[in-house]
Symmetry: C2
Subunit: 195 residues, 2 copies
DNA sequence: ACCTGAACACCGTTCAAGT
DNA sequence: ACCTGAACACCGTTCAAGT
């Protein structure tokens, strides 16, 4: 039954979700094509019917990660539109949590062994959706009307750079322990997102 | 003669510098223990006399990269102390150039396949030297006297996060092409480091 | 059209053996 | 003390062969 359904096109999806599973359990170093195939219950050559090589599978897994990130951030943004909390901080916090709760997924998404993600149309689609969301959030936070396009782009780059850099450095344990002992993570993030 | 000198302790250093070479040529994916040993002209088991495993060699290579980054930034800082240009921008630019001119080295240093760098005393030493340099730079840029320790730490985290995030995202090609076409890289970086 | 199994070239790591 | 060569378990990729 199971091996039968794979003949109807589910294998591709199964490889992606199982890849995310292993990524979450064993990290980026522990993710191999053969291991994914083994766990799915298929021969190690089977994935090549759906992905041209390992890079292509990794790109698909990364794309799925970006979709999850979009869902997460969109939900936060949507639920806070009417509760006037500090939206920027909540979004940044969600970004950080997304990274911390599954470092392997985040590292695959951004610390790119993937050179040719830009060739996969599905990836560029979700990437631009994420950019659009980021811009919408910034636009919303400037309550005094819309920003000019130029300022919007600059603001997006500044915000994303800060939050992404802080998240990466926290994930890689690059800040000295004194820094982290003296302050709470959320407090530091607040300082990072505040202008 | 050459194989003789390896009996006198140069092999360890040779493995590190050859590792950096291969990293620069083939990227992080193309760096294997056996390839390093082969290029140095030694058997694939020889490195185990100097490093407990591949991780340990990678940690040593990463440490060497951090030393190079320190040298680069220190030189800039030292040479600009008396020419009152925009030091923060020049430092940030040097950081970005350091990453762009050798992405493999930068990725190894920060996109950590290295979990146990903190166990290597040489690494924690250079890491804290880099932190101290960062603090000195910030201190210098606040011409009105010294900052309190708390504000200094916060300022260091904010600056490093911004510059590191921007650098990583540029390196991984995460910004949409429209952003990059509409602005020059240095102009964007200037916006990122300006408060 | 999709999957399997054998084959190949590579990898990290260990260990007896050499000097 | 340091290096070698064989050995082992793993990997990505290809390809004939099966259904």
């Amino acid at each position: 039954m199971e091996s039968d359904t794979y003949h109807h096109g589910n294998l591709k999806k199964a490889l992606i979700t199982t890849g995310l599973e292993i990524l979450s359990e064993k990290g980026i170093e522990g993710l191999s094509l053969r291991k994914v195939a083994r766990r799915v219950g298929v021969s190690h050559a089977a994935p090549y019917n759906h992905f041209s090589d390992k890079q292509a599978l990794l790109a698909a897994i990364s794309t799925e990660g970006h979709k999850q990130l979009y869902e997460t951030l969109f939900r936060i943004f949507d639920s806070m539109k009417h509760a006037s909390e500090d939206i920027l901080l909540e979004i940044a916090w969600a970004y950080l949590q997304f990274a911390v709760e599954d470092p392997g997924r985040f590292k695959l998404m951004f610390s790119g062994a993937l050179d040719e993600e830009s060739k996969h149309p599905e990836f560029v689609e979700i990437a631009s959706k994420n950019i659009a969301l980021l811009e919408a959030i910034i636009q919303f936070c400037k309550e005094d009307g819309r920003l000019p396009a130029e300022a919007l782009e600059i603001a997006a780059i500044k915000l994303w750079s800060s939050v992404h850099g802080f998240t990466s450095l926290v994930l890689e344990d690059q800040f000295p322990p004194e820094y982290m002992q003296a302050h709470q993570l959320r407090e530091l993030l607040k300082a990072v997102v505040s202008p």
